[in-house]
């Protein structure tokens, strides 16, 4: 198919317009202004500049790609023309935006169109911006085209290096703090690599070069390495694998000691969501029962432990955490059955909304004045005894914690081990369940309830077991959550938690146990680490959900069954998806 010249120009302009609109959008939501206070490379390029640049460069890449014709040889001139045009259009659009802002007061509608934003965009006033933006746009477009034209073996390392360097810059505060806390030469290295607000120039160069080198080495050698691995005798392969696991275990065990409490806290939260995810993975991933109120079971686990161990006024019993946890899990299981019963005959999206209702009912009741004498209502349950490995001292009086003679799981660094061990244990149980007779029964129900029933599967029993086991895992998560925070409030049991759990399962890959873990890391860990960009956290989260679904609808780590299913589908529809994705 020949690409006509007009077409080419139009595509390039369209791409440029699109990226320009995105740039203006980012300005108007205030992101550019806020991010201009953060650096990618200190004193050289701010995060705000970087984002604007990336939009122009991507316009160049996309336009250049559109201009190239797979059937013909490359025609660099054509590509450059398209890339340049796209970049230029982006620049011109930004000028138009600044010009517009100087004639009408955008701020009467858009709060973020503040004077300081335009001071920033016009380089502190003056008129130099009129030529700066088109020329930067042009240059970025050309740069994008060059990137596109580079042979694969250079392009991939460079894009990878840019991306990873950017990530390092984004998380530089985190790395810097961890390294500085180690003192000595590591602290000095940290100051060399990371500045207060971003990477230093030397740091950025080091990362960039190192990643290019590693990446090129890997592309060149990965085949040899793999072949080498397969040539090692079976026993050797096994021992290599074992070594890998030992290394993994070492990393997991040492992590909180080295990284400090914050990373430990994030890992704990990720593990808690992974626990809930593994639970929901049974009801939704295996048995296909969409539950949008999963937080209910989490709440039941949390409140049970809270009531049984608290030394505050709501503490019913003052038993150790270790005794309370099995009780909490049991109570959560019973609750799973209790909530599962009324909705046994309800299917599909009716089930989703009914369970959403259950989640809300639990939260509303827990926080209500009606049950406040038992659950503390809005004032919550506070004063939860931390787990103690050893003997607990006598319960003396209300509001005074008991003394722990032994190791106390007081902070995130200690609870980390509890949470990670629970997550691993539960993942193992889930793995065994998946392969069991019960697991196959669940999957039969997921595929078709009526057929499953006809095959002699007891629907009631199987569904109830799915609810109960799922609830048990979530209850365990709730129990650990309680001791992590040390208090429980009904406001922690929001609908958003349930939604997050569903999202992480789908993003990870439905029905896949490693997928749940990967999903939890991506959807819960990342936003936790990005607390700093607070007001844009959920904007990124939303955009990431959409993009992940567009790019990998089967999930990040899909189960074999899902993959098979996707390939079984009507090829026509598959093609449809593929072509529309290409268009998007």
């Amino acid at each position: 198919m020949m690409i006509k010249k007009e077409n080419l120009i139009w595509i390039a302009i369209k791409t440029g317009l699109l990226s320009g609109v995105i740039a203006i959008f980012l300005c108007l939501i205030g992101m550019i202004e806020v991010f201009s206070k953060r650096d990618v490379i200190e004193h050289i390029i701010t995060l705000g500049d970087f984002i604007l640049l990336v939009s122009a460069v991507s316009a160049g890449i996309i336009a250049a790609r559109a201009a190239s014709n797979p059937d013909q040889e490359k025609q660099p001139l054509k590509n450059y023309l398209a890339g340049a045009l796209a970049g230029l259009t982006t620049g011109i659009l930004i000028i138009a935006f600044i010009g517009l802002s100087q004639t009408i007061n955008l701020r009467s509608v858009f709060l973020s169109a503040s004077p300081s934003l335009f001071k920033l965009l016009t380089f502190k006033g003056g008129t130099s911006w009129i030529w700066i933006y088109p020329s930067i746009g042009l240059a970025s477009g050309l740069l994008g085209t060059t990137l596109f034209l580079l042979p694969e073996k250079f392009r991939q390392p460079i894009t990878r290096a840019i991306f990873i360097t950017f990530l390092m810059a984004l998380f530089s505060g985190l790395f810097r703090v961890i390294m500085i806390n180690r003192a000595g030469s590591i602290a000095k290295l940290a100051k060399y690599l990371f500045g207060q607000t971003g990477l230093t120039l030397s740091g950025a160069t080091i990362f960039f070069v190192a990643i290019i080198a590693i990446s090129m080495f890997w592309t060149a050698r990965s085949k040899n390495l793999q072949e080498g691995f397969s040539r090692i005798p079976k026993a050797g392969q096994t021992s290599l694998r074992v070594a890998l696991y030992v290394l993994l275990a070492y990393v997991v065990i040492m992590l909180p000691q080295v990284s400090g409490p914050f990373i430990a806290q994030v890992v704990v939260i990720v593990s808690l969501y992974a626990l809930m995810g593994l639970g929901l993975n049974i009801t939704l991933g295996f048995a296909g029962l969409l539950d949008l109120g999963f937080v209910a079971f989490f709440a039941v686990g949390a409140y049970t432990v809270g009531l049984l161990t608290s030394y505050g006024i709501f503490g019913l019993q003052h038993i150790p955490f270790w005794v309370a946890v099995p009780i909490a899990v049991l109570v959560a299981m019973m609750f799973g059955a209790f909530l599962g019963l009324p909705v046994l005959g309800v299917r599909g999206d009716y089930l989703a909304i009914a369970t959403l209702g259950f989640g809300e009912i639990v939260r509303l009741l827990a926080g209500s004045d009606f049950l406040a004498p038992f659950f503390g209502g809005p004032q919550g349950i506070i004063g939860i005894q931390k787990p103690c490995l050893g003997t607990l001292g006598e319960f003396l009086k209300v509001d005074v914690p008991r003394i722990c003679n032994g190791i106390e799981f007081g902070g995130p660094k200690e609870i980390y081990y509890l949470a990670v061990a629970s997550a691993i244990l539960v993942a193992f149980i889930a793995l065994r369940l998946q392969k069991s007779r019960l697991g196959r029964a669940w999957m039969a129900i997921r595929e078709d309830e009526d057929v499953a029933e006809a095959l002699g599967i007891n629907l009631i029993q199987t569904k109830l077991l799915a609810y109960m086991l799922g609830a048990a895992f979530a209850g365990l998560g709730g129990a650990i959550f309680t001791v992590l925070v040390g208090s429980i409030f009904a406001t922690s049991m929001q609908l958003i938690v349930s939604i997050n759990v569903v999202a992480l399962i789908i993003v990870g890959g439905m029905g896949s146990i490693p997928g749940v873990i990967v999903g939890a890391i991506a959807l819960i860990g990342m936003p936790e680490l990005l607390r700093e960009v607070s007001e844009y956290r959920f904007l990124f989260y939303g955009a990431a959900l959409i993009m992940m679904m567009l790019a990998k609808p089967e999930g990040l780590w899909p189960s074999q069954a899902t993959l098979r299913e996707l390939h079984h589908e009507d090829p026509g529809e598959d093609l449809d998806v593929a072509s529309s994705q290409a268009k998007a």
């Binding site: 108007l28 939501i29 019963l341 809300e360 209500s368 004045d369 009526d450 007891n458 999202a503």
Partner: protein, 354 residues
Amino acid sequence: MRTSFGERLLDLAVNGFLWGFRILIVVIVVLGTFLTIRAGKYTSEQWIDFVVFGISQGSIYALIALGYTMVYGILRMINFAHGEIFMSGAFGGYFIATWLTGIGFMDKYPVFGLIISMMFGMLVSTLIALLVERIAYRPLRGAPRLVPLISAIGASFFLQYTFRGFFGPGVYAYPSMKALDGEWIFFGIGILKVQIVVTIAAVVMMSILYSIVMFTKIGKAMRAVSENKDVAALMGIDVNRIIVTTFALGAAMAGAAGVLYALTYRQVNFFTGFTPGIKAFTAAVLGGIGNIPGAMVGGLVLGIVESVGPALFLDSIGIPRPYQLKDAIAYIMLVMILLFRPSGILGERVSKKA
């Protein structure tokens, strides 16, 4: 089929539980109602007020629920971002209404002013819905059922925080309309003008929508597509165009609802759409999702139960602060209705997996 004794016992226990549950709820409802009415705490005017408040709130739920139900009917997908589409309509209406008030138009021609605001709100929400459909949903048309749901959740977050970026986290107050202050008296009972206007506007919008779906060619095509996409395509229907039209119509309803909602409650902010979105989704399911009259019925029932329920059922049986549990009552009623009718009030029985 061979069933063991244990299984039969389980069946018995389950059925016993379910019937116990149904009876318990019915007893609470009947007893609560009886006690409340006997206690005579509320006058009959107050009961009428409860119902009127419920109808006005319910008609807004119904308008939003239409969008959920139509999209579901055609694509079998839960458009989770619909609440945010609703919010964008409220914002769109806000800017035009403020402007119209500022130049004095609103006071002179309140009816036209209101219609213009609503039109603009509908326009804004339709544009945003089409954009969301194009970017986040269309590429996922053949994907497994839950994939578009997650994409929709993403779109919901994205829209919320985009609006937060544009307009900040603060509250925007709708200009008050002189023409809508006060009450009209019907048969000796005063009813707020705003509520009458809102209810009438909602009914008009719903009638228009219903006529489009039932009596126009495009409506016929929509129904055909919702029955079976492939066959509809074979009949020469442009399925894509129909889907886009459905989104647009649903979003327009949500936009109108946004403006009406903001007129009633006076304030808008970026989080405004979340709760009504969930409620309308509940209403759509309550009425039988995919069913247009069902959404209307579901919305009204939900609105009335929320308004009347706490005072009627809980007040007299010793539950303090019953209105704190208004949503809980709504959800328990939902579960009850699903217990008796697993596919909603007007829904058809789903025999295959939806």
